[in-house]
Every structure is written in C-alpha cells, then in structure tokens.
Symmetry: C2
Subunit: 220 residues, 2 copies
C-alpha cells in the first residue's frame, strides 16, 4: 500500500508564505521514496504580503490557500478538510508563512496563537500516533503545542532561545542536513533555511527527513 503524506503549506514565498525550495524539494524527496502527497493550507488571509526583492510590505491582501496552490499546480484543499485516517504522516515545510500564517510566532514569540485548523490537524495527527515532520521555523509550532518537544531550529538564534526558555522545548543545535527526532512525541525536524544554506543542502535535509519518516513508518 502506498503511504500517504499530508503537506501543510502556508502561502508561496519565503518572506510571507511557504519556502518554495523546502516545499518543492520535500515533494521531490517524498515522490522519489514512493509516497503519495496531498496538500492542504488554511483558507485565511496572509498576515501580509512582502515584496521579496525589497522586503517591504505591499498594499495587497492574499489568501494562504490560493497562494499555496501555486506551489502544488492547483492540487490543494482547505486544511479544515484534513482527515487524519487518510494519511500516515503530516509534513510542514518552513518559510515565514509557518510563523506568520500557520501561527503568529514571528510577531508574538512564545505567546503565539496557532491557527485553528493547524492546531486541530497537528493535534489529531499526534493523538493518532502518526509522525509529524517540520522544517525550518515550522518546528516552533510543535514547540508551542507539545511541552518539552525535542526539536531543532538550526543554530543559536532568538527563535531557538524563545522555544527553549519560554516554551520549555529541548532545542538541539544542528547544521546542514541534520535531522532531530523526538521518539516519544514522534516528531522529525530539520533546520533547512534557518541556516544560510545552499539549495543542495535543502535537498539533503528533505531526503534525510524522508528517510527518518520512512524508518518511523516501517516501525509503526
């Protein structure tokens, strides 16, 4: 039986949405390993729209679900339609969208609120005993939801300090391609563009995350 992975996207573009390389190379690594991947995103407005050339905010409103569908060539559903029994694992690529649209960690830090559909999807997946993979800044969501989660956000950073000191996470410092596994909570995390990485290093991370996922699913 083909294993099925649900990927949650947060828009389209690193500064206000899902990181495009992390999402695309995760899709590639999952496809190469024989997984069927389906896509979800919350049907909400983005926190804001950023001109990726200048870093300035643009006077526009964009929808997280609609923008995410650019990465998936149209194939995506509202995250409210996620059914845990249809999938073997949940997978969250990073990008600021994970910390701006899936939750507001980017502005509220430890006091962040997790978007309702995201909280529901992550929680029920966890309760069903299924693994959750998260890249880049997305592990902050896991740190907020699971007390004492062992995760990585890469090297030393304000974000790492916040999850460690204020959320009580066990933050593991990592470098390119590293994967941190919380066996008890069934979490797989990797730093990706939390580090100053090349696109080849992002692909390495994605492949290593998928290998870790495969090991977990074989043992499930």
């Amino acid at each position: 039986m083909t294993k099925r992975v649900a990927m949650i996207l947060s828009g389209c573009g690193v500064y206000d949405g899902a990181e495009i390389h992390e999402a695309t190379l995760s899709m590639l690594a999952l496809d190469q390993a024989g997984y069927a991947v389906e896509f979800f995103a919350p049907d909400v407005d983005q926190m804001h729209v950023i001109n990726h050339m200048t870093g300035d905010e643009m006077n526009e409103t964009r929808n997280v679900l609609i923008e995410s569908s650019r990465i998936t060539r149209g194939k995506i559903r509202p995250l409210s339609e996620y059914e845990v029994y249809d999938f073997d694992a949940l997978y969250l690529p990073g990008g600021f969208g994970a910390a701006k649209n899936l939750c507001d960690f980017a502005v509220k830090g430890a006091d962040c609120t997790i978007q309702n559909d995201v909280m529901e999807a992550v929680t029920i997946t966890h309760e069903a005993g299924k693994p959750i993979a998260a890249l880049c800044i997305a592990p902050a969501i896991l740190a907020k939801l699971f007390k004492g989660a062992k995760i990585t956000l890469g090297g030393a950073s304000d974000a790492a300090t916040t999850v460690q000191n204020d959320l009580g996470a066990h933050h593991v410092q990592t470098t390119h391609g590293d994967v941190v596994i919380d066996e008890a909570l069934n979490l797989i995390t990797s730093p990706c563009y939390m580090l100053d990485a090349s696109i080849t290093q992002i692909y390495d991370s994605a492949q290593n995350v998928v290998k870790a996922l495969e090991k977990k699913l074989l043992n499930a």
Copy 2:
C-alpha cells in the same frame, strides 16, 4: 573557474508565471553540478493573475520581476541589466509565464511578440556563441527567434503543430527526461510539464539538461 548561468524567470506559478518545480529543480541541478546561478526577469506586469485552484482570472495586477523573486528568495535583477559576457549560458524554465509574460505565444501563437528584454538577452547570448536551455513551453521563444530551430515541446499538441507548421521549427516529439539538442544553433530543450509528468520526472529532465549544458561548455 566556476561557470555562470543566467536564469530568466517569468513570475511565480505555472498558470501565470514560471513553473515553480521546473525553476527550483533546475536551480538544484545547476547547483549540484557546481554552477553559479543568477536570476533575471523582465520588469513588466504579468499578462494576468490566475487563481491556481480554480483557473479563474483574479482582479489583480502583479509584476513579473517582483513575483519571480519569490522563487529566488529575493536575489534577482531586471532582465534589462543582463550582460552576456558575465555568463556562460542562458536558462529558461517553463510555465505559462514563458508564453504569457516573456512573449505572448499563449494567445497569439505564431504571430507572437517576444518581450524586448527577452529578445535582446536571447539574441545576444546566441550571437556570443553561448548555449541556451529552455524547458516546457519556453522553447517556443527559440522557435520564434531562430528559423528552423530543432526543439521539443513534448508530444503532439497544438503548440507543437504551431511551431512546426507556422514557425518552421523542427519539432522533435519527446517523452519524460528527454533532451533535444540543436548543435548548430546551440539550443537545449526538454519537455518537462508539457507532458503529464511527476516531480521526479521534472528533476530527471533538469539533470539531463544540465548534463547536456556541461558537455557543450566543456567543448566550448
């Protein structure tokens, strides 16, 4: 000396811009082969903005250069700044943006006009004897600019018939991962998502295009 490739993007998203997987996986294949890649896009408005979930046109205006910068994490320049002597090759991923924003082949067919900066960049690269790679629908630009160009747009299609019958191109039917090389005109083309392809097949194509490029540059 590191070889340098200039990649021309046409927005961000298959239906109105650059195909995200083709662009990302080309970046990966080029990085893995040791190329330095720089990015360019014309500083013009997109032909239109498409909701990728529904296929409907949205009442918005977006700029090709600004949207392309989402794929490149900000690193991109206006195509008018392209200097041929800085680069060893030119590389055009596909997506409808190549046929809507880099030219208007998608609506005008053989009577299409090539956007000025694109025409200039492609023409001077060709005149400098440097190879040009193009994926998916982007080879239509080469068919328009170079009489009798040997290219591929995948299998039988209206687009293939148009370039063959109306533009006088030599269209070669291809399948997944195939690469067509026009030795005389120094062109490398591959069908990618002109076929109903998996993301792994797009990566195969990107790797094969880079291999063909490498062979050309070694012999240059």
